[in-house]
Symmetry: D3
Subunit: 156 residues, 6 copies
């Protein structure tokens, strides 16, 4: 059976850390759907269509990777997409506790969707979207924390 | 001397995890006052009167449990209620650090109010109000995370 | 019903932190049994009879506190002693994770024994038996980390 | 390409938590090799051949699962076995930090071996080999923490 | 070369914990610049000019300590101030993970600015600005958590 | 006044992570004394004289760095050496909790010795002596985790 994973997130913005997890997961899954969450209540730095566009640009040479936004619960999105796996990266112990609660509740709701975790590479451990966004908002140069081919100014 | 405990929280909403802590604490205390905090600045999913009503419905067969909302500092609420104990459940290490700071500051302010902690049962560890609320907001079925006799639609 | 708690530990040695937890728990329980574990396989700094004697000396003015050594599983010791509560102090997040595993397994084995946790006071948070023992082994002065009335040289 | 994972551990003893991780990983991998580490310097409760036999008995109906002991570095064992994945279960934040260090060092040594993590189910979170072993050593009944078909007395 | 450190924060409000870190760092650095962040998007309890004034009042007898607000990225503020060090206090494990991410990203951006950490004294560990602010908002007495010479009513 | 720091540890073996902390601390202190602890009760991989020799070889071009073994308590070693600072590297949250307890007890014993922490660089975060030693014991190649100029075979 084809193994499909959803890699969900807000990706505001998508970082080198996210990119690295997706690339390393490619050999484990037949296809990966990057799901860009639209927390309608929450104001984001980049609008959802620009976040989707940026990630599509990052992976335009990978036909087995698709990118789409979603508004439903993440596990429901997995079921809708016929994806049996939820892919997540783990950076820190604080991350872990948060991810564990989400994953265990998801499992209780949809036992057929299995959460699978990869570890962020050491050099990407400090990088998260909040910090990168903060640099961008203050006019700093965040290019070394963003995927190489991306110029963030094209998505603002 | 009668042992009275306050079990404080926002309870937005009250979950099976909260219910389990209160039921297990019943043999330790003579009476338990469930204090529903009214963080006036913070928007909640359920209005405070509905949160109070829901919890009253859960424990309507337990005369030693009362439910009331409060606006003052939690330790001041304990003193006002003549409660010598602050009851809290602990789920995760992240919880613990947060609870420890609050409890130690409370102790510094009112040394006669002792914080007492019970551990959430393993099966309830991933359940917290934020996750349950998120399921409800997205139209998911959260009934297995809510007290058995509660139909959340009656409180919206 | 009388509320009896077991406060278990190796207590090698018993510190001001342990003493503080027992004293604060006195109003919550009718009697406290301090159980000194005899991990027969493990070499200790103080022999078990001296650890028992030291703790008895600390609490000699408290008739509701008794001290005894035990070799069985801690939950079995509670059942043998007709104690419905297991009292533990929590210092750090690392402590918490360890204590949680033990308490949840104990609960699975003997559901009638409830683990109850108090928080160490901030000033005692860094003090644990390992550090105090290390000071003693190196000939340092650990008196400020030991109960006031205790001269450790009387128990070596 | 066939996806082979090594699930390494000391398994002293193998618990329901370990069993659950392996069973859930079955759909992700084509074959799983359970590697039983022989830390020659460390005294174990069960000898290595009995640990291997016990696990073989647990999975005797699963042809895609094999069990073998090993003495080399875990990543070298993976390479020797042509396994591209290292499978591990995560229980707690403390686990996580330990596993992260090991996994990141393994990745630095053998970049082609990817560590993949599943989360322990909530009800198995408190169960680890140390606690189970401690129950067994004290003559307690650990059967609810061991795989259902296993009578530990057959392996002592 | 003169050693100058920036001690950055929102300081809403400045607590005894902050004061203690600065005083202990005095012998390590030749001068300390307390940088009061103006997160323009975030509503604060005290306006930035009052936060600056309060801290100036605390340290008015220390010519080697200066206080100033800033709006740029913290590392850029350090570079602008010719400060080679970023001073931070660490209270808890949760603090640590947050501080580590910030510090490692700062190091990647400006390798010449070194983050240096002191540990909060045990008695100040539970005190943070959020808790103190919460006490003040609820009309409680937070004076024991604020620098001794400060009457908070003078800054509201 | 001259600023002298002690950098204490077992260093069994000294890793690239340790080397990096010392090099980064050089500009903060006038001299650094690397103190190699002789836990007489504990069996080490490298004998203490070889651990001292290895570290001396690493820093032979740095006259402000000295290396010496010690058997007393670490804070007493600092006092004996007229060192006002204890330098430590922090890698993980687990590290942090351990280091905090030690540092706060040290501070209670010798208030004039200040513990100062630097953060390990992200790429060295997973590296600790236990893991490196384990690789060496199993005959693996640990050279990328050891200081560049060191061939470990010269010290066995």
């Amino acid at each position: 059976m084809k193994k499909t994973a959803v890699f969900p997130g807000t990706f505001d913005p998508f970082t080198v850390g996210h990119e690295s997890i997706v690339l390393r997961a490619l050999k484990l899954f037949d296809s990966i759907i990057i799901g860009v969450g639209q927390n309608t209540g929450k104001k984001t730095y980049l609008p959802v269509n620009q976040r989707v566009k940026l990630i599509k640009d990052v992976f335009k040479d990978f036909p087995q990777i698709s990118v789409t936004s979603y508004e439903v619960l993440t596990v429901d999105f997995c079921v809708n997409m016929n994806a049996g796996y939820l892919l997540r990266g783990l950076r820190t112990a604080a991350d872990f506790e948060y991810e564990r609660a989400i994953a265990q509740v998801n499992k209780a709701m949809k036992p057929d969707v299995e959460s699978v975790f990869l570890l962020t590479a050491p050099e990407y451990t400090p990088i998260n979207s909040t910090i990168v966004r903060d640099i961008l908002i203050h006019g700093g140069d965040a290019s070394k924390f963003l995927p190489k081919k991306i110029d963030i100014r094209n998505y603002l």
